[in-house]
């Protein structure tokens, strides 16, 4: 809850401050140079160009991934498609890496990041977050033979995480005693757990719950660790117009329960009964605990 509150505050502060600063000359420059320098495109420029560039994961099923036909799919992509449709433009997805999502925005390689981007203080110093569209808590999965039921049990043990995820940040800050084994890919992390390279694995609880169902001998001993974090779209710092537009969009999408639909389409087939949509979906940017 606190994480959400602080982040949205930061967002609001920034937007009110910088609203007036986008001048006409800047716009013209940008229009000419497209994305060749470090400043993001304005809403207008995006509409003009007829295409929006969104950074998503290409290997984090079911949030953002590429299916066997080479199409982008997932919970994040579902939203991305809708944003493009409502803007009346085409969408181009750019695959991003967990560790470099901030860089993509800072250097204006994309207009929006929709890559399961957890809202944190450090990140909010670098980018502007819009309203959240999802919430998560961390879960810890471990072998039944040595089930971890409390995070403190991990002290001195090896915990497997994926790079750039909330779990990495959370354990680095709160449990410095825990040895972290970090991988670029989720599947690598899971494989490492299967191969016994660590004592447990931590990531979003929905994710571990679903995985534990598929893999005998492993259970989720901790299913809601730490604060509930929110996940939100992000834009480059100071790109207020775009940010406002996204916020409005998220609010208005609540009317049609868009994110519940999204859940049914993308997450339910993967997670099945393991997760409850209400523990995950956020409508209209409002967290109701």
């Amino acid at each position: 809850l606190t994480g959400c509150a602080s982040s949205s505050k930061v967002t609001n502060d920034v937007s009110s401050e910088q609203k007036t600063e986008t001048t006409d000359t800047q716009k013209d420059d940008n229009a000419k140079e497209e994305t060749s320098n470090g400043t993001a495109r304005t809403l207008e420029q995006i509409k003009e160009s007829g295409e929006i560039v969104i950074g998503v994961f290409s290997d984090k099923k079911p949030f953002g991934y590429v299916d066997e036909n080479g199409e982008y799919q997932g919970y994040d992509v579902y939203l991305g498609n809708r944003i493009a449709k409502d803007l009346g433009v085409e969408v181009e997805y750019v695959p991003v890496e967990a560790a470099s999502r901030v860089e993509y925005l800072v250097t204006a390689k994309v207009d929006i990041i929709l890559a399961n981007f957890t809202v944190t203080k450090e990140r909010a110093e670098q980018v502007d977050f819009a309203l959240p569209y999802m919430k998560v808590a961390l879960g810890i999965v471990s072998p039944d033979s040595a089930l971890i039921t409390d995070a403190s049990q991990l002290n001195g043990k090896t915990l497997i995480v994926s790079k750039g995820t909330t779990a990495e940040t959370y354990f680095t800050e709160n449990y410095p005693e825990v040895e972290l084994l970090k991988f670029d890919q989720y599947s690598e992390a899971y494989n490492a757990l299967l191969d016994g390279r660590g004592d447990a694995l931590s990531t979003d609880n929905t994710e571990v719950l679903a995985w534990a169902l598929e893999n005998d001998g492993f259970s989720v001993g901790v299913d809601a660790l730490g604060n509930i974090d929110t996940i939100a779209p992000a834009v480059q710092k100071g790109n207020t117009e775009l940010l406002e537009w996204i916020n409005n969009e998220i609010v208005s999408l609540a009317d049609e329960s868009f994110f519940h639909k999204d859940y049914v389409e993308t997450l339910a087939p993967v997670y099945g009964d393991a997760a409850d949509p209400e523990s995950l979906v956020v409508e209209g940017g409002v967290i109701e605990q």
Binding site: S100, E103, K163, K182, N191, A192
Partner: protein, 223 residues
């Protein structure tokens, strides 16, 4: 540039550099051993073994280390062989380095003119003695430039070990970028670390090579 940040995370780099050097050292040591054995097998043409060595060398030289590592680290456990990050890194480095070293030694062995072997034989040495006293010392000397190039190449290749979760220099740098967005500082320290490790190695080898090239046997004064 955030000096505080740099000093805070410097120990992490030192630790990582130590690990990098350790892995590189062990890996190169075994590479030399493996390469030497392989080149011997090819030189003597031990029947079946030498075909196997040929295949190994082609496979190792024509595929990237990263893929070799993924295979060792994520592939092998599926058939029941589990290696730690460290052993995997060493195994990968040796798999790659062995073939490069073998080629270096081979070119050394091949560069020794046949007349050297024959004149060794003609003063009544056995084949083994000819190899030990005449061929080998010359071949090793000839291989030194290729050998030193390989050592630097292999140390550089350690940078991909971060991909199998080995906490080497690259891994630490990526971590700092991913966690704290201190790109400049992390990259600066990364470059410095590699310079500190590789510059002395490179200089030492350049000196040795120059000595070999210009002085050859018995003209040390000219260097």
């Amino acid at each position: 540039m955030d000096i505080q940040f740099i000093s805070k995370y410097l120990p992490m780099y030192v630790e990582a550099a130590r690990l990098t050097v350790f892995i590189a050292f062990i890996g190169i040591l075994f590479s030399v051993l493996l390469g030497f054995i392989c080149s011997l097998i090819r030189y003597i043409k031990i029947p079946i073994l030498h075909k196997i060595v040929d295949i190994y060398i082609e496979l190792s030289r024509n595929t990237p280390l990263l893929i070799q590592l993924f295979f060792l680290y994520f592939g092998l456990p599926k058939i029941g062989i589990r290696l730690s990050s460290e052993s995997c890194a060493i195994a990968g480095l040796v798999f790659l380095g062995g073939s490069y070293m073998a080629e270096a030694f081979r070119s050394g062995l091949e560069s020794i003119p046949n007349i050297q072997r024959e004149s060794g034989l003609s003063i009544g040495l056995t084949k083994m003695q000819v190899f030990l006293y005449i061929i080998l010392p010359q071949a090793v000397t000839v291989s030194i430039p290729a050998f030193s190039a390989n050592v630097i190449f292999l140390i550089k290749e350690t940078s991909v070990f971060s991909a199998v979760a080995l906490a080497d220099l690259m891994y630490v740098a990526k971590d700092l970028i991913g966690l704290y967005y201190k790109t400049d500082e992390a990259l600066l320290m990364l470059v410095m670390a590699y310079l500190v490790i590789l510059l002395p190695v490179s200089i030492i080898f350049t000196l040795i090579e120059r000595k070999m090239r210009y002085a050859g046997f018995g003209n040390q004064s000219s260097f």
